[in-house]
């Protein structure tokens, strides 16, 4: 299956990509929707919507242990999704893919499992200063509950300095776990994950990467990078909400105990004893989100069918346009984008204008952007900011949309300060 691959020039191809996303045809406040809130959630291609619908129209039945045709069909979809995800992120084995409710759920699950089998009072977990709350709060909970210590790695604009800081922090704090984001949901800054993984490997520090943003904009290879854990959500990756992934490297399967208990995760149960199934099943208690898996499978297939790499390259091109265009808007400042590697996310703030007011007016002009702290309060406080307006792009966005957004921003500032 392939979509749009033979179409040129590029703007025609983008138009073809757009035609697969039904929401792009809708209007808001009487104006065509300009959707630039992709870092919060992506729009869904028609294939994904139809896959979820087809699942309920045709295949719905519970997975595993079903001795009938529908149960078999349902199990096939679910396990095909696992295979597709394993391939997408370069997992060495399919059973390394654990389905969860999303990134937050994945990190919570991991923190719980590590707290039972690996982390002890006084152990240091090394995070970056750019983390989303979902990669801070689960560890804070452990710090309150069992006295682990959190240390934060500063993220400079220059990768060399980040790597050097990582070495110094590991030497000084001897962390038992490195848990960092692949890319910042606030600034778009991409961490030098490959080099950081190398350092972590040298010092034998296990590494977890929060891929909520990163997986959307990179071809990742978890096996090659030697990552221990990788977490992400389906819904930012063009799939349905309510399902996500926790990659657990095989060598951890014997170390990490189950983190949820019930049906589907056992080997044998007696009234007074239980033995657990093998991974991935021992980590997936209860009925999973099979329709979500069907949708995620369709999303992965959709990305392959459009030759996703071309979409990713185009996103970078669009990001450069966005940064250049936004820099020309009077009265605003950009966070970062001064040399390091970035995903197509730009946070701006206007020193004289509240981000809330900007988003309200931009919404009136049909532009969907996000205003607020973006669940990155500690880092914003460090910068002395309360919030930003965040513009986040996907491959179905156009230069015209970016320019319209910059213009809406400009007009909004004029209205608010005039």
């Amino acid at each position: 299956m392939s979509y749009c691959v033979d179409i040129s020039p590029l703007d025609k191809r983008v138009e073809c990509w757009r035609s697969h996303f039904p929401q792009l045809r809708r209007k808001v406040h009487g104006r065509p929707l300009v959707y630039l809130d992709n870092a919060a959630t992506s729009l869904k291609p028609r294939d994904v919507i139809e896959a979820v619908q087809q699942y309920y129209l045709r295949d719905n039945a519970n997975v595993h242990r079903a001795n009938h045709a529908l149960g078999h069909a349902s199990t096939t979809v679910y396990e095909d999704a696992r295979k597709a995800v394993a391939q997408l992120i370069g997992a060495a084995a399919t059973q390394e893919i654990i389905f969860t409710g999303g990134t937050t759920d994945s990190i919570n699950a991991l923190a719980t499992a590590l707290s039972k089998s690996y982390l002890q009072r006084g152990d240091v977990v090394l995070l970056s200063e750019l983390e989303h709350h979902s990669n801070i709060v689960p560890w804070l909970e452990l710090s309150q509950r069992m006295g682990i210590q959190l240390v934060y790695l500063p993220i400079a604009e220059d990768d060399d300095r980040v790597v050097k800081a990582l070495e110094e922090h590991i030497e000084r704090h001897r962390p038992r776990l490195l848990a960092v984001t692949h890319a910042s949901n606030l600034t778009g800054r991409v961490l030098p994950i490959e080099r950081m993984a190398e350092v972590a490997r040298q010092y034998e520090v296990p590494m977890m990467v929060d891929g909520a943003q990163g997986v959307v904009h990179h071809r990742i290879d978890v096996a090659k990078l030697g990552l221990d854990f990788y977490a992400f959500s389906s819904h930012k990756l063009y799939g349905p909400m309510g399902i996500g992934v926790l990659y657990i490297r095989k060598k951890w399967h014997d170390v990490l105990p189950p983190f949820r208990f019930g049906g589907g995760m056992i080997d044998e149960v007696d009234y007074q004893s239980v033995s657990y199934a093998q991974a991935p099943y021992k980590y997936e208690a209860g009925t999973p989100h099979v329709a979500g898996a069907a949708g995620l499978l369709a999303a992965v297939r959709f990305l392959e069918s459009i030759h996703w790499e071309e979409g990713l390259a185009y996103e970078q091109q669009l990001l450069r346009v966005a940064v250049d265009t936004l820099r020309k808007v009077d009265g605003i400042r950009l966070l970062g984008h001064e040399g390091g590697q970035y995903d197509p996310i730009v946070s701006v703030y206007a020193p004289k204008v509240h981000h809330y007011d900007l988003a309200v007016l931009m919404d009136q002009m049909g532009v969907a952007v996000r205003a607020g702290h973006h669940c990155v309060q500690p880092y914003l406080k460090k910068l002395g900011l309360k919030g930003t307006v965040r513009i986040s792009l996907a491959f179905y966005n156009t230069e015209e949309e970016v320019e319209y957004c910059a213009d809406a921003l400009k007009r909004s500032i004029q209205i608010l300060t005039g």
């Binding site: 509240h354 809330y356 007011d357 309200v360 007016l361 209205i415 608010l416």
Partner: protein, 144 residues
């Protein structure tokens, strides 16, 4: 207190509805609200205390009530200009009325101006939080 010279709450509300509904375009309604925000004196920093913060707003909104004679006077502020305008609009509406009048009054301007449909749920929540706070003040001053 010369009752006859005071405009009733319902009449004042109708004026507010007319003012807002004068504009066909929502951008113009927002411009009106922004202007209200800009004209609002706000509160001096020293008076912007946490106990005056209205919970449920996306930006910080302070609402202060004082009793002058029989009636309440509301003053408000926000760090964002649109909520500041909305709060000022509401403060102006309710200022100069007794707690009993305020408690007996059922506002309809949120529906009649389309504010309810037009604001996103979180913003609409912020607006109803301001209205609720007004009622709480009225209740507190009535029993005080």
């Amino acid at each position: 207190m010369p009752e006859v010279q005071r405009m009733g709450l319902a009449e004042k509300e109708q004026q507010l509805i007319d003012d807002l509904n004068m504009f066909d375009e929502w951008m113009d309604k927002y411009q009106f609200i922004i202007d209200m925000g800009k004209e609002s004196e706000g509160l001096p920093d020293a008076e912007k205390t946490d106990d005056l913060l209205v919970k449920g707003c996306q930006s910080r909104v302070w609402l202060k009530a004082e009793k002058v004679g029989d009636v309440l006077v509301f003053r408000s502020d926000s760090d964002a200009i649109i909520p500041k305008g909305i709060a000022a609009m509401i403060a102006r509406l309710y200022s100069g009325h007794t707690p009993e009048e305020i408690l007996a009054f059922r506002p309809t301007f949120v529906e009649k101006t389309g504010l309810a449909q037009h604001l996103t749920p979180t913003r609409a929540n912020g607006l109803s939080a301001i209205l609720k706070r007004i009622q709480q003040y009225a209740l507190a001053y009535k029993t005080a």
